[in-house]
């Protein structure tokens, strides 16, 4: 009798262990999902409050070139044709293409920007200077290195050049602030030349330590971005 009970108990325990082993991965997935939902960062919450680039559904679908990393040639960018309902307004258009760039290519290995980074704001000044303000993740989640940071910046510049001709040069801000570097390597104090029409040679023409020496129109725009991101 005792032996029969022991076998029966052992069988029940074994079944319980197998059931638990089968259920555990599903339970872990559920816990992680719940954690993701509850641990919403301040950055994500703020991003939701900021107006996102509207999808101009009335605009016709247009084939645009997005510049993502090449799988075959390391450190190179390749144009990838994507269809978008591209707005006529250059600011909306810039937001659309940069958000598409951030969303990434089908092949994740060709991504040039971190998947959790977001475009917080985009402005174009009357002189053709674009100002792109990205969330902190563009610096905290990007793979560290000169090559990866250079590729990230180049993909932004080439994508704007191909699709928003009104942007002649670009200032990159992070969370409404000027940054010395993207993630410790590539210099963000300068204006990057976007369009060959910008013959003034702005790249390295206006390098400045964060918080000083920016031309007045850009300084005003930076202050506007700062005020917006502090709200």
């Amino acid at each position: 009798m005792n032996q029969k009970w022991t076998m029966w108990l052992g069988g029940v325990l074994l079944a319980a262990v197998i059931a638990a082993a089968l259920y555990f991965p599903a339970l872990r997935r559920q816990v992680n999902k719940a954690k993701d939902l509850t641990e919403k960062t301040a950055e994500q919450a703020r991003r939701e409050l900021l107006p996102v680039a509207p999808v101009s559904t009335g605009d016709p679908m247009v084939k645009v070139n997005m510049f993502w990393g090449s799988r075959g040639q390391e450190g190179e960018l390749v144009p990838v044709v994507v269809e978008l309902p591209l707005a006529r307004d250059p600011v909306l258009r810039a937001k659309q293409v940069l958000n598409t760039l951030l969303a990434g290519p089908v092949d994740a290995e060709s991504r040039t920007l971190p998947p959790d980074a977001a475009l917080l704001a985009f402005y174009i000044l009357p002189d053709g200077t674009g100002i792109a303000d990205f969330s902190d993740e563009i610096r905290t989640s990007i793979p560290s290195g000169i090559q990866s940071e250079q590729l990230a910046v180049e993909s932004i510049l080439r994508t704007l050049e191909a699709n928003v001709p009104q942007v002649l040069r670009l200032k990159i801000l992070i969370h409404g602030q000027e940054a010395d570097t993207l993630a410790g390597h590539v210099d963000l104090t300068q204006l990057f030349r976007v369009n060959a029409k910008d013959a003034a040679g702005t790249q390295l023409d206006n390098p400045s330590p964060p918080g000083s020496k920016l031309p007045a129109p850009i300084r005003r725009a930076v202050d506007t971005v700062r005020r917006a991101t502090k709200r």
């Binding site: 390391e74 450190g75 793979p143 560290s144 290195g145 000169i146 090559q147 990866s148 940071e149 250079q150 010395d180 570097t181 410790g184 390597h185 590539v186 210099d187 104090t189 300068q190 040679g201 790249q203 390295l204 023409d205 390098p207 400045s208 330590p209």
Partner: protein
């Protein structure tokens, strides 16, 4: 020769497998390169020898305070084909105004760009001989550390901290040191301090 092992202190740089951090590993490359350069008769200064993190400007200042210096900042990426190395120089910059022999600190690299390219080409050729898959020619990138350096200046980036075993990275140390030393030996006879550059210590803050 001013060798700059990048990052340090609270900034570990790239983080890889087996607890490898760029700031620690790059010191090994810098120490080995120092020994290889000293064997060729160069005087070598490191911008850091321990786990501290001088500012970009402090690192540049080590080279800017001396006439006839050469500056190499050393990095290890978290991407790229393992076992390869790339040399970067600053992109072309507009001509700088040289008033009373001074050049602006923010554009200190501008008068040295052609020399930096020459040095970069020589070092990249040596690296590509030793590390298969490395590019044959140097790359350009606006590397922050280079912009404020008033000397021929290059960045050497090694791939990568993401290796199966630490030994893969350690195996690259002698080759990188030797390549840099060979490149410098070839560069030395061609190095004439540009007349439009500031004399030692006269870089305008």
């Amino acid at each position: 020769m001013v060798l700059d092992p990048a990052h340090g202190g609270t900034d570990p740089g790239a983080r890889g497998t087996e607890g490898i951090s760029e700031s620690d590993e790059v010191l090994q490359f810098a120490f080995a390169t120092k020994r290889a350069l000293e064997a060729q008769g160069f005087q070598v200064i490191l911008t850091r020898e321990g786990n501290d993190d001088p500012s970009f400007d402090d690192r540049s200042a080590r080279a800017n305070a001396q006439r006839g210096a050469v500056f190499i900042t050393m990095h290890i990426a978290s991407t790229g084909l393992t076992g390869t190395a790339r040399v970067y120089v600053e992109p072309d910059a507009p001509a700088t105004k040289n008033i009373a022999g001074l050049i602006p600190w923010d554009r200190a690299q501008a008068p040295f760009l052609s020399l930096s390219r020459k040095l970069g080409d020589l070092v990249q050729q040596e690296l590509s001989k030793r590390f298969k898959g490395s590019p044959d020619t140097l790359q350009t990138a606006p590397v922050r550390q280079l912009r404020t350096t008033a000397a021929p200046a290059i960045a050497v980036e090694i791939s990568s901290v993401v290796v199966k075993e630490r030994v893969e990275l350690d195996r690259m140390v002698p080759g990188v040191a030797e390549a840099i030393a060979r490149g410098l030996v070839e560069f030395r006879p061609t190095y004439v301090v540009p007349s439009n550059s500031a004399p030692g210590g006269s870089v305008q803050p």
